[in-house]
Symmetry: C2
Subunit: 407 residues, 2 copies
């Protein structure tokens, strides 16, 4: 299919009828340029949170199948309204739920994985001249049950549709103008990037940047689908997320500084240092559905050691319970936790070929007398856990040290 | 299937999480008595009106396919929440949209007709021990588009499911306790009926009683499915709607007095009295999607006559426009209208075999000096149009004249 674009509009851009009309005007402007369009929409504004609240008034632990049934209505509402708004402008449009359009997933309710998309109906409607609107975030399992794809799942719907339809570009319209070298609210000199590699974006997403869902970037990377992140509220240029290029390697060593205040640190003290202990602990935590982020275990000289790790704050209570149980079983000491931490990270594919990046990071923090409590590294990122109150100072220090600001 | 009941809960009984929990308790009480249950729910409270309002903020004339896509979310929300509430009580439940459960309709969006229901999934889930919750008011067309069944369509969903599943009873839970001899707010002596025939109920529905959708009663009559109308808020006995029985014929002549304040009268004056004139007029009005209720044409001695008819008030403006156009075309006189009218009707299968019912009605009104402006009759009802200000007095007079009150 030639000249087909997939566009995705986030919940903040379809929060009310006026905004939906604005989105419709944007879409038909593309249509006028001769593009075929498949548009993915999220639920309007706070609808998803309101539906979750309704469910929790019924029961603290709603069954996940019913939760998907409930939550999928949000996107169905916005896609019907958007189709109406486009029709009002005199263009042909038709809306579909995930089920209707054949977004087949496994049956892992609330975080289903896409297996396949049946493109027949979409292509049929495109051929009739329709702008096709698809409810994001949702699919259907083999036995016709509605599933959802996890928080931010509309991004995944958009990328997956771009893949199966052979679209040349997947545009993500959101409430920020693109990807920045760091949070512009903290560092006014932060620069919007023209492009960034999938790997860097993935790393940033997992390190706290909330622009796009990590799974959707993985999928885009796997099938090499270019993504263009831009504002739903103005026409300024955004940021392309693309395959890593030679040119990019010769570019800046570091692309961005990210931060996260949403983690808590746990430490099990006085752990017997024998094989299998860590495996035991983290298996139990994983089976509780909790993602552990950084893990640090010191080399032990005494036969006993401390293990520290971080989890997302909402998971802290559940993690504490599991960790205390495991600590008793393995005859370890007390379990302590700390919510006053933050993480700063630097991300860049350039660090693969540039030595000395870590030492530059550590020196910059040291100059500001910011103590580093945990360190973890990946091939293209370095993260430090520090006291939460220093996090903005740390971000500014690193943004300056790596010369990321506007010229 | 033995001991299967279909229950339908109206929007006012599932308006918020507390009320949904109450409905869940009712349902599991039936389960405890050994019944298999298929439960149809309407959208919570004012949800449907709120969604319509959203659509109208986008466009005054939304496309009907998209309207169905939008409105069907209301029932999806309540059926998911109800399933959660039942599960919370420790019982097995599963919810379905009309599409998922295979309620196949034609593609007349916003007022689709049911063609067939695929019962396989419902029976499968009943056999697994589930209470099956089905979103009312909605179905799916042959090409997988979501359709809705018109206002009050959840009643139709319930009756149709009772039919295809071979249920012995279809219970309609609503915000009134049953069918009364007349509106108890007007006549405190009004009596709740133990049973009423399909035909009488149909007549009452079309004469202004809003307890149940007329199409659903037609369907129940066609397949002889007993309906039990009762309150969702208490356990008092309600009213059975059943096939006309011999016993009922020997019972009271008149079952109920109904009223409607929602009509307006139009008169075309000075109409040339030649064949085809009335056909012409009412064909044009019907093609505008307007239902005409009563029609009166006086016998003409002069070669010219007056034609009066009533329509629902919301249709008055549109009807006036059409009628004036036709009046010009046929060379008739002026078109006048009157919104200050009301209709009182008496309904009862007994009048088929009892002469003198009409004269008793007219005399009762005459005793109260209430002038009759139009009369129309059916096999089991007589309606009179009167001045609106007299309507409550007329209802009380008729209720007394036919001795319908409590003994």
């Amino acid at each position: 299919m030639k000249k087909l674009i997939v566009q995705k509009y986030g919940g903040t851009s379809v929060a009310n009828p006026e905004m939906i009309k604005n989105v419709a005007r944007r879409i038909v402007a593309y249509r006028d340029k001769g593009f075929e369009l498949v548009v993915v929409v999220s639920a309007p504004g706070d609808t998803t949170d309101e539906l979750i609240e309704l469910a929790h008034q019924i029961t603290p632990y709603p069954q996940e199948r019913e939760m998907d049934m409930l939550l999928s209505t949000g996107e169905q509402i916005s896609c019907a309204l958007l189709a109406m708004a486009i029709q009002k402008l005199g263009y042909k449009a038709i809306s579909f739920t995930g089920l209707q359009v054949g977004i087949l997933t496994d049956s892992t309710h609330t975080k289903a994985r896409i297996i396949n998309i049946d493109t027949r109906r979409i292509i049929e409607e495109l051929n009739k001249g329709n702008i096709v609107i698809v409810a994001g975030f949702q699919g259907v399992s083999q036995n016709q049950d509605i599933t959802t794809l996890g928080r931010g799942g509309s991004d995944l719907s958009a990328v997956a549709l771009a893949k199966v339809l052979g679209a040349k570009l997947c545009e993500i319209y959101t409430d920020v103008e693109g990807i920045y070298t760091t949070d512009p609210r903290i560092v006014p000199e932060a620069r919007k990037l023209k492009k960034i590699s999938y790997d860097e974006m993935l790393e940033m997403a997992s390190l706290g940047a909330q622009v796009m869902q990590a799974r959707s970037i993985e999928l885009a990377k796997k099938f090499d689908i270019p993504i263009y992140v831009r504002s739903a509220f103005n026409n300024r240029r955004g940021t392309y997320i693309v395959k890593e290029e030679k040119k990019m390697l010769e570019g800046p060593v570091i692309s961005a500084v990210t931060l996260s205040r949403n983690e808590a640190k746990l430490t099990i003290c006085d752990v017997p240092d024998r094989p299998g202990i860590a495996a035991n602990l983290f298996t139990e935590i994983a089976s509780g559905g909790i993602n552990v982020d950084m893990i640090v275990q010191n080399v032990s000289h005494t036969g006993r050691t401390d293990i520290s790790f971080t989890v997302l704050k909402p998971d802290l209570r559940k993690t504490l319970k599991i960790t205390k149980k495991v600590a008793r079983e393995i005859d370890a000491g007390e379990v302590i936790y700390d919510e006053d931490i933050a993480r700063v990270s630097i991300v860049g594919v350039g660090m693969k070929s540039h030595p000395g990046v870590a030492s530059l990071m550590f020196s910059a923090l040291a100059r500001h007398k910011i103590n580093i409590e945990m360190i973890s590294t990946s091939e293209i990122s370095i993260s430090c856990v520090i006291r939460k109150k220093f996090v903005e100072e740390a971000v500014r220090a690193l943004h300056e040290a790596f010369k990321l600001g506007k010229k």
